[in-house]
């Protein structure tokens, strides 16, 4: 299975696209996804933080990922 990950703000600048597709075998959990993304794009590891959202909610590292999930990297927010 492959996964699509939406990118915003500085993560989109780092990766160079607003959606990245991770081919099979795709990461099974949020933690694996972060590790894989940081391996491919070391600049992600230099951010103050980088969370993962699954279906519009912040997800913990052990959260499982499914192909039907809406997944996004969430760099440090700065609203207001």
């Amino acid at each position: 299975m492959s996964l699509k990950v939406a990118l915003f703000g500085i993560t989109r600048d780092i990766v160079g696209t607003s959606v990245i597709e991770l081919p099979a075998p795709a990461p099974a959990t949020v933690g694996e996804l972060l590790a894989e993304m940081r391996k491919q794009y070391p600049a992600l590891g230099e951010l103050r933080s980088c969370a993962v959202a699954v279906n519009n909610e912040y997800a913990t590292h052990d959260h499982p990922l499914r192909t039907t999930d809406e997944i996004a990297l969430i760099p440090p927010v700065a609203g207001g």
Binding site: F8, A72, I74, P76, G79
Partner: protein, 140 residues
């Protein structure tokens, strides 16, 4: 008491946000209005670019407001409007308006909502300077 929450690429209408929270049950309306400042850490800022992950931002904003209703059960009405896109100096970036029976809770609830919004709502800010741009808070 359904909160009025929106993220818009149009100029924020502060008067509409205030009108949205108006209710006969409230003796206090409190609003925070965030505007674009001309400097950041001593560095002149020309304009700001806000980017939003709208669906998640509205979901998280809903959680923030739900927490406010739990903390202040007397809270009557809430409106939050956040701008996205390119903003010039002086433009309104965000308005938070709350209505409560008495003033003390209106200050507290309004501050809680804007402070928590800044921590969890998926909106990003890129400052534009004379010699480039930078994503705010991205790096330690």
């Amino acid at each position: 008491m359904t909160p009025h929450l929106s993220i818009t690429d149009q100029p924020v209408d502060v008067a509409s946000a205030l009108a949205a929270v108006q209710t006969d049950a409230a003796g206090a309306v409190n609003a925070f209005i965030g505007t674009v400042r001309n400097q950041s850490g001593g560095r002149p800022v020309r304009r700001l670019h806000y980017e939003s992950y709208d669906s998640m931002a509205l979901t998280q904003l809903g959680h923030v407001v739900a927490q406010a209703y739990e903390k202040w059960p007397m809270l009557q009405e809430v409106a939050v409007v956040h701008r996205k896109g390119t903003l010039e100096l002086g433009d309104v970036a965000v308005v938070v308006a709350v209505a409560t029976p008495h003033r003390a809770e209106s200050f507290a609830a309004c501050q809680f909502i804007i402070d928590t919004l800044k921590q969890v709502v998926t909106i990003w800010k890129r400052e534009e300077y004379e010699d480039g741009t930078e994503w705010v808070a991205a790096h330690p």
